[in-house]
Amino acid sequence: MTYALAALLGVVAGVLAGLFGVGGGILFVPTLTWLGLTQLHAEATSLLAIVPTVVVGVWRQQRYGNVRWRSAAVIGIASVGATIGGAQLAESLPEHVLRKLFAVLLLATAAQIAWRARRKQP
């Protein structure tokens, strides 16, 4: 039952992510905690869940010639070392602190979406 619900929520999260131009992670993490995972396990699992969406997204975008591969490679490779630091910090923080920090990230994302929506107005 939980599994069917997870798949359904996956579709919803994907549609919203595609519609509003955000990654799935911002929605995967709250979904996974709602399904009963701890904040840390939800974050770790979210990163793996992001991969299929990214693969499909890149495949679509590169057909339009929008991907600048060299820049993407530099950013991606530079990020690898920093992910170890980020994961270490997440491991060491208490569950409730990590959850509250994530809430702040959600607020920042909301602000960015609202700002983009207003900017596009004619």
């Binding site: 798949a7 996956g10 595609g18 396990h41 299929p52 490779i77 980020g86 959600l106």
Partner: protein, 117 residues
């Protein structure tokens, strides 16, 4: 010089991504536009490709710690990939500006709930 900026963007994105379990597009996209002079469309596309590497690195780190639940990742991630393709094509047909404000309000609601828990 641009290379240095891209490296700094990568470091910030990698840290944020692994700390919060997100892709990091929230920092990569605006920084590519503001600091590296990208147009929004190519910033978004380039960010996606970079996130592929970042998320994979994060997953490996968390797998070593034993924190990843692969069944949930597949159940959520594979339907989401299909949904995202659908959502992107809906963009042309829906009043996205109004919906964006509603979506931002939804995120604020989730955030408040998490802060009060």
């Amino acid at each position: 010089m641009t290379i240095l900026r891209l490296v700094l963007i990568g470091l910030a994105a990698g840290f944020l991504s692994a700390l919060f379990g997100v892709g990091g597009g929230i920092v990569i996209v605006p920084l590519l536009v503001i600091a590296a002079g990208f147009e929004l469309r190519s910033a978004t596309a380039t960010s996606l490709a970079a996130i592929g590497v970042t998320a994979t690195a994060g997953v490996i780190t968390y797998v070593i710690h034993g924190d990843v639940r692969p069944v949930y990742a597949v159940l959520l991630g594979v339907p989401a990939a299909a949904g995202a393709a659908g959502g992107a094509s809906l963009q042309q047909r829906l009043p996205v500006r109004t919906l964006s404000l509603l979506f931002a309000a939804l995120l604020v609601g989730i955030a408040i709930r998490m802060l009060l828990q």
